[in-house]
């Protein structure tokens, strides 16, 4: 198997007495979808926050293409090619859908100390953004202020913004959160189509989605990884079964 694209080595994150990340070592390989599952409070979002640079770990290392990025700030990581979506929708609410994606495109076109040309009339920003929105089916909503989008549309926009910079790794924090069954199915199809083109870390509660998409799964309980393996291996793992997956879930 190819070397890891993004990995953590013995990562720890403590909040006072609480150990949110406990000796976590995971590796996301190029092109794979690596799912991170676990019960509420297992430290999944904390792990994503550390990978994206939003939170600094207490101890341990984070490597991107073999390079230590543990102390690197979030914007620098984003420009390197580590993009993320947020569990709680985080878009620019008073901008249009197209503005949001265009800003994401802009972030990857060098510095923005450009004071004169109108950014909203700049085809090098607007065209790629429009293209992406059309691919995602959000094209007709391009000129709507994002605060007026439906929840599902906002979730799709989250993904569009993460994708717009053509990232090497996508960190997806519960992309299906709050979606209806139909929207979820659409999202699964969409992520399936993306598969292979870039590596993804998928944090998700929807087990149907996880088992449909993931190449490998890491199970997190109280901040610690209790198992990593293919979906079949995880399904067969007795410890995982005890700690987390109910019998009903396993049918999936």
């Amino acid at each position: 198997m190819a070397d890891a694209l993004l990995e953590t080595k013995s990562l720890f994150k403590r909040f006072g007495g609480l150990v949110a990340t406990d000796n976590l070592t995971i590796a996301i390989r190029p092109g794979e979808i690596h799912a991170l599952i676990g019960p509420n409070g297992a430290g999944k979002s904390t792990a994503v926050a550390q990978l994206s640079g939003q939170l600094a770990p207490t101890a341990g290392h984070i490597l991107f293409e073999g390079r230590d990025i543990t102390r690197m700030r979030m914007p620098t990581r984003a420009r390197l090619g580590i993009a993320r979506s947020f569990q709680i929708t985080s878009v620019l609410k008073d901008f249009t859908t197209l503005d949001n994606v265009a800003l994401s495109v802009q972030a990857h076109q060098g510095h923005s100390f450009r004071f004169w040309k109108n950014a909203r009339k700049d085809p090098t920003l607007r065209d790629p953004a429009s293209l992406l929105l059309n691919e995602l089916g959000l094209g007709p909503r391009a000129d709507v202020i994002t605060a007026e989008l439906s929840h599902g549309e906002q979730r799709q926009l989250e993904i569009a913004m993460a994708l717009a910079g053509d990232p090497r790794v996508l960190l997806l924090d519960e992309p299906m959160a709050g979606m209806g069954p139909e929207e979820s199915t659409q999202m699964v199809t969409f992520l399936k189509n993306l598969k292979g083109s870039r590596a993804m870390l998928l944090v998700e509660h929807d087990m149907d989605a996880v088992f449909a998409l993931a190449d490998r799964i890491t199970v997190l309980v109280y901040g610690r990884a209790i198992a990593t393996g293919t979906p079949e291996e995880i399904r067969a793992n007795a410890e995982v079964r005890d700690a987390y997956l109910g019998a009903d879930d396993m049918v999936a």
């Binding site: 609410k93 901008f95 802009q106 100390f113 004169w116 950014a119 920003l125 913004m161």
Partner: protein, 324 residues
Amino acid sequence: MSLDIRSWGVREIFNFLLITILALVPVYSWMSGNTFIITLVTRALVYAIAAMSLNLIMGYGGLVSFGHAMFLGIGGYAAGIMAFHGNTNGLLQFPLAFFVAGLFAMIIGALSLRTRGVYFIMITLAFAQMVYFAGVGLEAYGADDGMTLSRRSRLGPIDLADRNQLYLFCLAVLLFTVWMMGRIVNSRFGMVLRGAKSNETRMLALGFPVFRYRLAAFTMAGAWCGIAGALMANQAAFVSPAMMHWVQSGDLIVIVVMGGINSLFGPVYGALAFIIVEHQLSVWLKDTWQLVFGPMIVLLALFARNGLDDLFKLMGGRKDGRDG
């Protein structure tokens, strides 16, 4: 403002009328012999330029600076001190005011922008007070009494000692400021600044080092306010620490809010309304004018959050709400 008249809404028509009226003030003053009006409106224009510079960081950047008047003072003193030493060449005074104010803004911004919200308000206020007391300590330049400028600036053929030339020069600077700010807030830089106001974490996650852009905006706003300060020194032929008193910073915030945050022309309306209402109330009510002015501001804050923007919206003319 688009040049295609057919696309104009209420806002554009008002802006056009405003510019026309402002351009006609010297004509009216000349015909009626009323020279006071030109002095009053010049003052409003200077405040409008200062408020527009504040609007860049406050309206578009979401950074409420409670010390912006310090850059008025710094710019004013830069021009005033040069005049004191006998140099009244505006082509040197104005660039000096610009650069010194910008330098102060860069240093103060680098420290202040590490804080957020109320802390940012407090720290900018603290720095402004420090600069204010530094001004009070300038014994050689009149200390807290300030000093009178022996001569106003000359910029090549333009002599700001002439009331009409000063007025037209301020109006030209104002129009240039509107145009320049319009370019900036709609540029890539402007989008980053406004995006960071809307959702800082998201902008960081997209890959924008927000601090750098905010610092650049803060520096530009300070430098441009320095120009307004040099104009103010010329308008009053006087500089004093009072130019950068915290009340002055508060007035600038009120002007921006009155005119409508997020609107390019807003501060111009705000400054005209502020200066004219302040003047008229003090004429009618003498010493008690603030008793009326204060509650007016409170009512405005309660019922017209977006200042004149709300009025334009009421009139149905909101074509391009965020950028006009």
